[in-house]
């Protein structure tokens, strides 16, 4: 059974079920991406919901010989709108920021029409349109050229893309790294090329050398960008361990006005060197 069911699992189930009165268990589990035990658990809860006039919200019957589930829906069930403005906004936010990715699993015309329909509600009428720069077929194994945060050279990763989502740094591609066999997230704007899978050319396996940095700060806006559980405050300074030297350096460039490196000296020196170089370039 799915570990942690959420209310949105129920509303999505309602949305899917409406399409048919009879489902094969295989189709339903595939479409919802969850196992049959979780589905039955949710259906049991929903069958205990009654509308104001005493009507059953949903009735269902499982045919274990045919492996099907038959449903009877109340008018309240079929009329219930489960797609919120906020969810459409989150989807729009992902689509808008992923214009350089052409997700080939979804029909291009349907996606364009869907996007344009939402654009009427959410957009300021920007002139940006879909570009098909990086074709990605989700679930199909590929190689990507990816520039890691803080690095100047692209590395090759052999991955199986799973889905597109968002975190505080922007939109991300969630994928299985086929060399390390673990799920990783790749910032989409840092993927510079997509190629056919070739495991031998993968250069992703590398060791990061963590770096602990002490720094002073003017305000706490930078906190959103860091893992809150790993931040420590000591003697008025903030202490944080970054994945490696270059990631730390890029973080301090991004907040150059608000925070100041105290240690280690190597990082501080590199940061100061870049600032001096910039000032020299301007003064030339």
């Amino acid at each position: 059974m799915k570990n942690k069911l959420q209310l949105q699992d129920f509303t999505y189930l309602i949305n899917i079920l409406k399409d048919n009165n009879k489902w094969t268990i295989e189709d339903l589990t595939e479409k919802l991406g969850i196992d049959i035990e979780s589905i039955v658990y949710m259906l049991n809860i929903m069958s205990e919901v009654y509308s104001i006039n005493g009507e059953n919200f949903i009735d269902f019957e499982i045919d274990s010989l045919e492996n099907t589930i038959s449903f009877e829906y109340s008018s309240t069930f079929t009329d219930l709108n489960t797609i919120t403005d906020f969810e459409l906004f989150k989807i729009y936010n992902l689509l808008k920021s992923n214009k350089t990715i052409n997700v080939q699993n979804i029909d291009k015309q349907d996606l364009k029409k869907f996007y344009e329909t939402l654009e009427i509600y959410f957009d300021e009428k920007s002139k940006v349109r879909f570009k098909d720069n990086l074709p990605i077929n989700l679930m199909k194994e590929i190689n990507i050229e990816y520039i890691k945060i803080g690095y100047s050279e692209a590395l090759t990763y052999s991955i199986k893309p799973l889905s597109i989502s968002n975190n505080q740094d922007g939109n991300v591609l969630e994928a299985i790294d086929l060399i390390e066999n673990k799920v990783k997230t790749f910032l989409i704007n840092r993927i510079i090329d997509v190629n056919e899978l070739k495991l031998s050319s993968s250069s992703s396996k590398e060791k990061n050398k963590e770096i602990e940095v002490k720094f002073s700060y003017k305000n706490e806006e930078f906190l959103n960008k860091l893992d809150k559980d790993s931040i420590f405050f000591k003697d008025g300074l903030c202490v944080y361990t970054f994945r490696d030297f270059n990631v730390a350096l890029e973080f301090f460039f991004e907040h150059f006005q608000d925070i100041k490196i105290v240690s280690p000296n190597k990082l501080k020196a590199e940061f100061d060197k870049k600032i001096i170089h910039l000032v020299d370039m301007i003064n030339l």
Partner: protein, 276 residues
């Protein structure tokens, strides 16, 4: 959690079959799990359920407009889908099918700052030309919202405040309320510029940067690309920008080389650096 799911689904069905506002007593009487509870336990459960529904975008707000006879709770937050359905701007079956396919590949369960939940009300206020009020960095603002803007992974609402156009970052908005009157203005807007874009001259400069770096970082700062010339693995770009802070970050991160810059603009960047 089972009871919480059940109560939330009951609340949704209760409001779905009643278009009017519902009083607290009516809600308590018609949701069996609430009925048995004492007043304070009911209040706690109801508030918890409201918060859970709100996380998904179902907004259960108490309406107590002084001109209305019936006070009570109203469920909002699903106006866009209803609107698409009623206007027929897209075949609704196609819309739902595409939505379901997108849900398979785009994970919309990601965390967006919770204050973006106000997007539903902001859009309604824009479309119906209503006024909104909200707390913004601890001051109370009242604006006529005119449109939205996305920049650097953040969303902004642009609006008219006391006859001046201003932009507000949605992440900084709290306690947003929408006025009850519609059609309050006739202000038309072609595009949204940030307030600082109205008052200052843009910086013009020429940079030499690695092509890959420009491709990765170009969306990190708002700029207009005037000209670009490829030079092997680098690109020479002529740009204009108002965004000095992000320009500096761009140069630092990409190791871009400044080829040409006017002396006035040099001063602006240096002032910005030394401000730190």
């Amino acid at each position: 959690m089972k009871n919480v799911f059940k109560r939330c689904l009951k609340l949704l069905t209760l409001f779905s079959s009643n278009n009017e506002t519902l009083t607290t007593n009516f809600i308590k009487d018609n949701v069996a799990e609430y009925r048995e509870l004492g007043d304070s336990a009911f209040k706690r459960s109801f508030e918890r359920d409201k918060a859970l529904l709100k996380e998904m975008g179902f907004l259960l707000d108490f309406e107590n407009d002084k001109w209305k006879i019936n006070d009570g709770y109203k469920l909002t937050g699903t106006k866009i889908f209803d609107d698409i359905k009623s206007k027929g701007s897209m075949n609704i079956e196609n819309f739902i099918n595409t939505y379901q396919v997108i849900k398979q590949f785009f994970n919309s369960d990601y965390k967006l700052d919770s204050r973006n939940i106000y997007i539903s009300k902001i859009i309604q206020a824009i479309n119906e030309k209503r006024r909104i009020s909200f707390k913004y960095k601890s001051s109370l603002r009242k604006i006529y919202p005119l449109g939205l803007k996305q920049y650097d992974n953040q969303w902004y609402v642009g609006g008219n405040e006391q006859s001046k156009f201003k932009t507000f970052k949605i992440d900084n908005i709290d306690d947003l309320k929408m006025g009850t009157k519609s059609d309050l203005h006739d202000i038309k807007l072609k595009s949204i510029n940030f307030s600082w874009e109205e008052s200052v001259e843009p910086i013009l400069l020429e940079l030499l940067v690695l092509k890959d770096h420009y491709s990765v970082q170009k969306n990190s700062f708002k700029h207009s690309l005037i000209k670009s010339i490829d030079e092997k693995n680098k690109v020479k770009i002529e740009i204009s920008t108002y965004d000095i802070q992000k320009l500096i970050i761009f140069i630092l991160i990409t190791d871009a080389e400044i080829i040409k810059i006017k002396s006035n603009d040099k001063r602006k960047i240096l002032d910005f650096i030394y401000e730190k």
